[in-house]
Symmetry: C3
Subunit: 286 residues, 3 copies
């Protein structure tokens, strides 16, 4: 029986990236849909639920993507409401690569320098990747902070992490244009991850190079100058200034592996919902 | 040469249900299109007609679906106008599952209790499934009536059945809220099929249980309370109150088989047009 | 690794024709997109660029189609701007079949009567097929003219051919309703190709039959009465009135072969851009 992936994308056109990765993950066929919303997703999901019965249901699965993470999250919620009892299929959400990127970054950091009991800071940690990475670091036992220019946004993110992941993360109000304040805030921090948008420099090279306790510096931003100048996109554990560095492409290789592994995993059961934690757990098995 | 199915759907998004069933029927690839209308279908059909020549044309076929049966019917008509001479491909129309559902219901009923010479009534028989089921029952030799709350609608349906199927079906004006009138109308009827929309109770349990000549009770509606309370969706010939009962899921299993068999049949020739009668005939061979 | 073709179409619905031909050319899966514009193509192209690395990139390719050649050309330009360095995939543009039709017509003509040093005229030669055919004929060494009812349009086309192909083609202002003028202009011409739209008669049978030096008469228009009445659509080198005739279907068989060969070629490298000249060269190898 063919492995079919329903590719539900909240952007007007279904992502080519996600389509190609699905084929490379061993999916036999994709059924791609753009412009998916909570309002129109129900009939699509019914089509996945009511075509293959019993144990065969696991041969159909759903991927939810798109550039807007919150829109995709709303679609995932509607999908889960649509399922009932055992009549369901497995779901992977990875809008904007948020789950696979967060999982890959934390896996890289934790392998380089086990985070349990350590101090970690996620710069610009209120976005989709940053929030998830902060949650994963906390679940691994790190003492985690996130920074945001906006106090309330930081607090909201920490509240959300408490609800969703059951972890305590500390919000810091911090404007990256004030690198003296950044330096002060990072005193004693052992791992830093920059999770900001393209174009925003979050941590200057002159600052991180001089932080004595800092061991791991990671940046998910590949567009020059990156969120942490001095790290190269291809860095994959490269030592610079005495710190282990991870750039966006160094993290990206593992991210791609996780994406494929998560897609393959979907077809092993009909009731999986793969979010950041499940993808992370899967990455630890690889 | 790959078996390609053009999936033409009148809804904005091509049905996942129909796509999955196509793969399970052995189609190699589907080319799915949503938002298909008589106005935009011609170029799509040309693409099916002018790419594979002669005997190879049978490796391409067209499925027309969507939730609105009349819109799909209009697309089918335009498709047939677009073909010329031997330059054509086979077509299956099954908008809203109307043809496969009607065929499956009548097959089930006729196997349980051969309908030739018997009295059959299709409740709410002016809709897409009801009309087709009435026509198939009449073609099998039953004396068929359909009920409708609207006299004119019932008469129109019977006129259409005379034109399309060459059969005589009798219209009855009947409001299901008046179950005394329903009971009276069903006196002497041996088979009943409920073909109404979700939410409409057409025949109360207290009524059908007490009709002495009634042998077969079938309902295509799976949403509680169903069109005929007392029948369970999974009933597949189950005896209740001395009658053989068929529920929506009991009929649905055969419907799915017919859908797949009809799709597979498309690729055996390039000039088939599969409607309710052809699907029904195919079901008798299964 | 599966061969994936991104089918980018500027029409609202991706062409069925191009999809079917892609499968018949050996593509494993197509990812079809309608409504593609220079504004929305970039993310689609990124998805092709960033999913398969290094030598594996050649397993992904792009086809650009649609009924409007200029719109497709603009998409191709944007695609090429989006690539950088070795991170690219191969591209075939064949909107409205312009490149494969032009290449097939010129291949047929040149095989029937080698064009080097000969006089060739492309009637209504400013459209997508006519322009490309004129360029290919000139590259083969013919002395080429194109006709247009509009003087300026003809001059623009010749200027474009000089820029794009580095060839000199002569524009002639000619109204096909004045067949006496057509006859005069074609004196001494040895090959004629009609490249006009359906419905426009460009060269009457009574005229071409009497042109003593004319050896080859070709017409890409299959809709009766065709651009050159007297040629039959199926003519494939058929001698009529002492001239070798090629009709639209006679040319169409080779066009289809070129289309498939070009698609197959895409997957041999990741940096090809197949336009009329490349498709023509490919046809000479067949």
């Amino acid at each position: 029986m063919k492995k079919l992936l329903l590719q539900l994308d909240t952007d007007p056109m279904a992502s080519v990236f996600d389509g190609v990765v699905a084929f490379d993950a061993g999916v036999d066929h994709i059924l791609p849909y753009g412009g998916v919303t909570p309002e129109n997703v129900q009939d699509l999901v019914y089509g996945a639920m009511f075509t293959r019965g019993g144990d065969k249901l696991k041969n159909t699965a759903i991927f939810v993507g798109g550039s807007r993470v919150e829109a995709a999250q709303a679609v995932v919620e509607k999908i889960q409401e649509t399922f009932f009892g055992p009549v369901r299929v497995s779901v992977l959400m990875d809008a904007n690569g948020c789950n696979t990127t967060a999982a890959a970054a934390v896996l890289k950091m934790n392998r380089a320098f086990p985070v349990r009991g350590k101090r970690a800071m996620v710069l610009a940690g209120t976005g989709p990747v940053g929030m998830r990475a902060a949650g994963l670091l906390a679940l691994e036992g790190a003492r985690v902070g996130i920074t945001s220019r906006n106090k309330e946004r930081g607090q909201n993110t920490c509240r959300l992490l408490r609800e969703l992941y059951g972890v305590e993360v500390t919000p810091y109000e911090l404007d990256p244009r004030d690198q003296a304040a950044v330096q002060e805030q990072l005193a004693g921090v052992e791992l830093v991850l920059a999770a900001g948008p393209p174009g925003a420099v979050l941590l200057e090279e002159g600052v991180w190079a001089e932080l004595p306790q800092l061991q791991v510096v990671a940046d998910i931003n590949a567009v020059p100058p990156g969120g942490i100048p001095g790290i190269k996109p291809n860095d994959d554990g490269k030592e610079r200034k005495g710190k282990l560095c991870f750039g966006a492409l160094g993290i990206g290789g593992l991210k791609m592996k996780l994406h494929k592994a998560a897609l393959a995993r979907l077809f092993t059961a009909n009731d999986l919902v793969l979010d950041a934690r499940e993808v992370y757990a899967l990455g630890k098995e690889l």
